[in-house]
């Protein structure tokens, strides 16, 4: 029997482990499938991490090291090259590694911190051939930043999420020519600063409301055909344009990796793709918590650490005997707010709600409704799907509420 098993040794898993340790739990084990701790941050060599958490600008590996150092100093055990195969509702973990073979651990509490994976080309239904030279942006990032290989010389990137933008700059700095970044939506999903310093700095065109409609080439990509799309996102045939290239990078979204959560019977949120949780990040299965990108995809790792600390502290309390509250109040949304995390509250205490909106809106009022009545409002000049928002709901609002709702009133678009 182990008190706390954490699945995943990335920023969420390490931060949760440290928080649980600091809350008095000593019997902790982190299981990590890669050969190092640090998760995806190891390949995110660009800077801009940690401004919120540490007040300075760190690169991904430096941010990860801050936590790995703590894990090592505190002597929190971790197993690398270890893949978790299954978890059950009763918190039995089945894992495997080449050193130990298949083994099982019974845990008092589990924290899920498996992160997310990239949406693949199969999910896109692009016409044409299937030659070499098509990579997800994250795979290309791993090749360039961890292995020292360049995936190609003339590049088109589909999707303007942050990874796509970062890779446009990275490939350019390493000598590739990035022909264009195409984005299906009329706005970029990436941070404004990344459009500035990754595209504008290098005169890389960002083509909004544009997609790749065909891939050309037999053994290797020889080019792609792009086209503008109408307001219903259908390609407009007259706008077809051929771009010669040898590489297509796809940066088309991230999906929380919840296969293990499903095997434990945890209920998932249809919109986030992650578990439904309460304010303590406890899932629908008692004693199993979730945090980081496996719960919902974050844009800033600083918020991942923050969320993981909540999960770590809550798991510690649970191990010490705290039970989840039986009365739960759901937080619903109006559609303009797409989702919230947590999705429900079970205790009469103030809670920070993280949420994302469905579209780019200007001059909005974020409204909290309690049993249908507006009780709190906060103004914001601009909100966008690519930027996660937070709102603190006070104890006075939560106490005695039967239903909470988060919505947007929009006076401009």
């Amino acid at each position: 029997m182990t008190d706390l098993v954490i699945i995943g040794g990335g920023p969420a898993g390490m931060s949760a482990a440290v928080a649980a340790y600091e809350s008095g739990i000593r019997d902790i084990l982190i299981l990590e499938r890669d050969e190092n701790l640090g998760g995806i941050l190891q390949q995110c060599i660009h800077n801009g991490f940690g401004l919120h958490k540490f007040g300075e600008e760190l690169t991904g590996p430096e941010y990860a090291w801050r936590y790995e150092k703590k894990v090592r100093e505190l002597g929190i055990p971790f197993k690398l090259n270890t893949m978790v195969l299954d978890i059950t509702e009763d918190r039995v973990i089945t894992a495997t590694s080449s050193e130990e073979g298949v083994f099982q651990i019974q845990a008092k509490a589990i924290i899920l911190a498996m992160g997310c994976r990239e949406r693949s080309k199969g999910a896109l239904n692009i016409a044409g051939t299937r030659p070499a030279g098509i990579y997800s942006a994250g795979t290309a990032q791993k090749y360039v930043n961890r292995k020292g290989y360049m995936p190609g010389k003339n590049v088109v990137i589909l999707g303007s999420g942050d990874i796509g933008l970062i890779m446009a700059r990275r490939m350019t700095l390493e000598g590739a020519s990035v022909k264009a970044v195409c984005e299906l939506m009329p706005y970029s999903g990436g941070l404004a600063r990344n459009i500035e310093q990754c595209l504008h700095d290098f005169n890389i065109p960002l083509k909004l409301s544009t997609t790749v409609v065909e891939i050309h080439g037999k053994d290797r990509v020889t080019g792609v055909t792009i086209a503008a799309v109408d307001e219903r996102r259908r390609p407009i045939p007259e706008t077809r344009e051929y771009i010669p290239c040898d590489t297509l990078l796809l940066s088309v979204g991230l999906i929380p990796e919840n296969e293990l959560s499903k095997s434990a019977g945890i209920s998932l949120d249809r919109i986030t793709g992650g578990a439904e949780v309460d304010q303590d990040r406890q899932t629908s299965v008692e004693g199993i918590f979730a945090c980081g990108n496996v719960l919902h995809v974050h844009d800033l790792v600083d918020y991942v650490s923050e969320e993981a600390e909540i999960a770590g502290r809550s798991a510690a309390e649970y191990i010490k005997g705290a039970k989840p509250g039986d009365e739960s109040v759901r937080i619903t949304t109006d559609g303009k707010v797409r989702y919230t995390v947590p999705q429900r509250v079970t205790a009469d205490k103030a809670v920070n709600v993280y949420f994302r909106v469905a579209d780019v809106y200007k001059n909005v009022t974020i409204q909290v409704y309690r049993d249908g009545e507006p009780v709190y409002a906060k103004k914001k000049a601009r909100v966008a799907p690519g930027e996660m928002e937070t709102l603190r709901i006070g104890e006075d609002i939560i106490k005695g509420a039967k239903e909470l709702k988060l919505g947007l009133e929009v006076s401009g678009q």
Partner: protein, 118 residues
């Protein structure tokens, strides 16, 4: 003359308007912090960027590196050449200087080499 910028200092990405008279900055508006004003002034007079990249060590290992301060924007490609020609010896720890005095900065490691942790 007016110039519109997107601040790159932090993820907020404020839209900043700078009023210029030739190379003289007359006013900066739209920023929400001091560092934004500083960025906007520099961006109009002497734009700078931090370069992050990787270096191949003598033993073949790939280590991530950065310039420990921002360098002139038009020196980024030259800086990349210097980084790509370097072949440092391991072990390397975070913060170790890989190349010194590169356009007013040092190129430092942002990752430990494999040997460091074992």
């Amino acid at each position: 003359m007016k110039r519109n910028l997107t601040c790159i200092v932090c993820p907020m990405g404020c839209s900043i308007e700078v009023e210029l008279d030739g190379a003289n900055v007359l006013s900066v508006t739209g920023n929400t912090c001091k560092r934004g004003a500083e960025y906007a002034k520099n961006e109009c007079t002497n734009p700078k960027r931090t370069v992050t990249s990787t270096v191949r060590c003598e033993n073949g290992e790939i280590i991530s590196v950065k310039t420990d301060r921002a360098i002139p924007k038009d020196k980024m490609q030259e800086c990349m050449k210097l980084i790509n020609n370097a072949r440092p010896c391991t072990p390397i720890a975070i913060g170790d200087i890989i190349l010194s005095d590169v356009f007013g900065s040092n190129v430092v490691a942002t990752q430990h080499s494999a040997a460091h942790n074992s």
